[in-house]
């Protein structure tokens, strides 16, 4: 069957030993048409680290993620995963290089059950491992196990996001990219998602790159953070240091810092 081709490809181990950079973005520029929406972006995610990118709407955060994930072709600069150059690869190729992705909207297959959604996350795994890995992932999310037979489209927003994360964990990604995971969620489920489920990922060895509106809560679970405005990184520091800065609000409410 033609579909099964490529399953035998071994995943490329990404990243080096702990503490080394999992993701390195250097001098990245990308955008639509010929106007770049982001310029000169340098960004690093170390192994096992949670890194949050915050900034006002239109700052270029989503563009950054798209360029990293190969949805947009960078105009200049490089994206490296461990020692592997990702620049210019297509999104499905990047997925096979052990990069998981949780999109902001349309994050689940609405007519597939929860279990099937999770299994699809392991599409690139060897056939025999798909089922067992899905079982392991469900062990991490007992809440999802209880609703394994429900259709993705029938879940609440918070449950769907958890499902999307669980699906991305199927390939035990070296890097997990989350695009505004709490967008559209009420404070309670949003808080739970960030402080319980996403924070818990840090212990599993995966490196996280997250764009998030809820800067305060996101930074609370992050090691480091980047603040973007008008297409550039304007501040970067340890998350707790950054959060304590008095001028951080200005970036969000109209007065561009930096």
């Amino acid at each position: 069957m033609p579909i099964s081709r490529g399953n035998r490809k071994r995943r490329v181990p990404a990243g080096g030993p702990a503490g080394q950079a999992a993701l390195t973005v250097t001098g990245l520029a990308a955008g639509y048409g010929d106007t770049p929406a982001i310029m000169d972006v340098d960004l690093t995610v170390h192994r096992g680290e949670i890194v949050t990118v915050v900034g006002p709407n239109g700052a270029g955060k989503s563009t950054l993620l798209k360029a990293v994930l190969g949805v947009l072709r960078p105009m200049s600069g490089t994206v490296r995963l461990g020692d592997r150059d990702l620049t210019g690869l297509r999104s499905d190729q990047i997925c096979r290089l052990s990069v998981g992705y949780v999109p902001q909207v349309q994050d689940t297959f609405p007519r597939l059950t929860v279990l099937e959604n999770i299994e699809m996350g392991g599409y690139t795994l060897p056939r025999s491992k798909m089922k067992s890995r899905a079982g392991e992932v469900l062990d991490l999310y007992p809440q999802l196990r209880r609703m394994a037979g429900r259709q993705g489209g029938h879940l609440s927003g918070g449950e769907r996001k958890m499902l999307a994360i669980a699906r991305a964990m199927m390939i035990s990604p070296a890097l997990l990219v989350l695009d505004e995971p709490t967008a559209g969620l009420a404070p309670q489920p949003a808080n739970e998602l960030l402080s319980r489920h996403i924070a818990a990922l840090a212990g599993t060895g995966v490196s996280l790159l997250m764009v998030e509106q809820r800067a305060r809560e996101a930074m609370a679970i992050s090691q480091r953070a980047y603040v973007m405005a008008a297409g550039r990184v304007v501040l970067t520091d340890r998350a707790d240091t950054l959060l304590a800065r008095p001028d951080i609000g200005d970036v969000f409410l109209g007065r561009t810092a930096g």
């Binding site: 579909i3 099964s4 096979r96 992705y101 609405p110 007519r111 597939l112 699809m120 489209g153």
Partner: protein, 296 residues
Amino acid sequence: MSQIVLSLGFGLVTASILALGAVGFTLQFGVTNLFNLAFGENMTVSMFVAYLALVSLHWNMWAAMAAGAVAGAVLSLGISRLVYLPFQRRGTSQFAMVMVTVAVSFILKNVLQMFSGATYYSYQLPPEPPIRFLGMVFDARQLAIIGLAATSLLGMHLLFKYTRLGKAMRATSDNAALARSVGIPTNRVVSAAWVLSGLLAGLAGVALAIDLGSFNSGTGGSYLLLIVAAAVFGSVGEPYGAVLGAVVIGLTSEVAAIYYPQLKDVVAFAILVLVLLLRPDGLRAGRVQMRAEVTV
């Protein structure tokens, strides 16, 4: 009463053929979003291939049917690669794509006609003794058609429910971009959908030719409308809805045939019109949806 039970029997045969076709039609629509009006000609080609296998090569009926199904699959994949895909890559509009499928159906039908003429063909199968069952009367071949449909649909169900390919097809049908982002090779999934759809078209075509007793180059094309009716009835793109549509339309049209033999198709279509008045996008439309509006 006994007459109604009797015609329910015919209805089951019709429903079986319709279900094969409607699932094939709707499966391909669900994955490719293309309303393929050349599906009927796909059926006809298979009828003729089976005829050649049967009459010229002296294969047995079931081997001939398999040959027809394979021919249907090959044709379906070939046309999608050679014609539909290039047009879709050009960004041809949804309407124009329907016209493209109409053009393909014109070409297939008339090329067939050039070789076959206007005459009717028959597999000339020997008559079978009638088998009575719960007041219904079948011959062995009709039972085989019902069995074939049941087996194929069960196979489809197992495919969709339990195999990687089947789930990947449903995932692609739900959200192709997301499917690509988890590493599903959507191009190959789309090809697989065309192959399966052609296979089912072939089975439905040969089964129809057996049931009708004779066929010509226009048989598949005119039967397509009933298939589309069944598919639209159950909301296009929903395989289980298509089976439901096939059963409802198959049974009612045969029961109606007791009273108005000339109008059996009309009754089927009247049901469709009624459904559209009540639910403009089909019965199962909107049961599960995750709208783009969630993006707020």
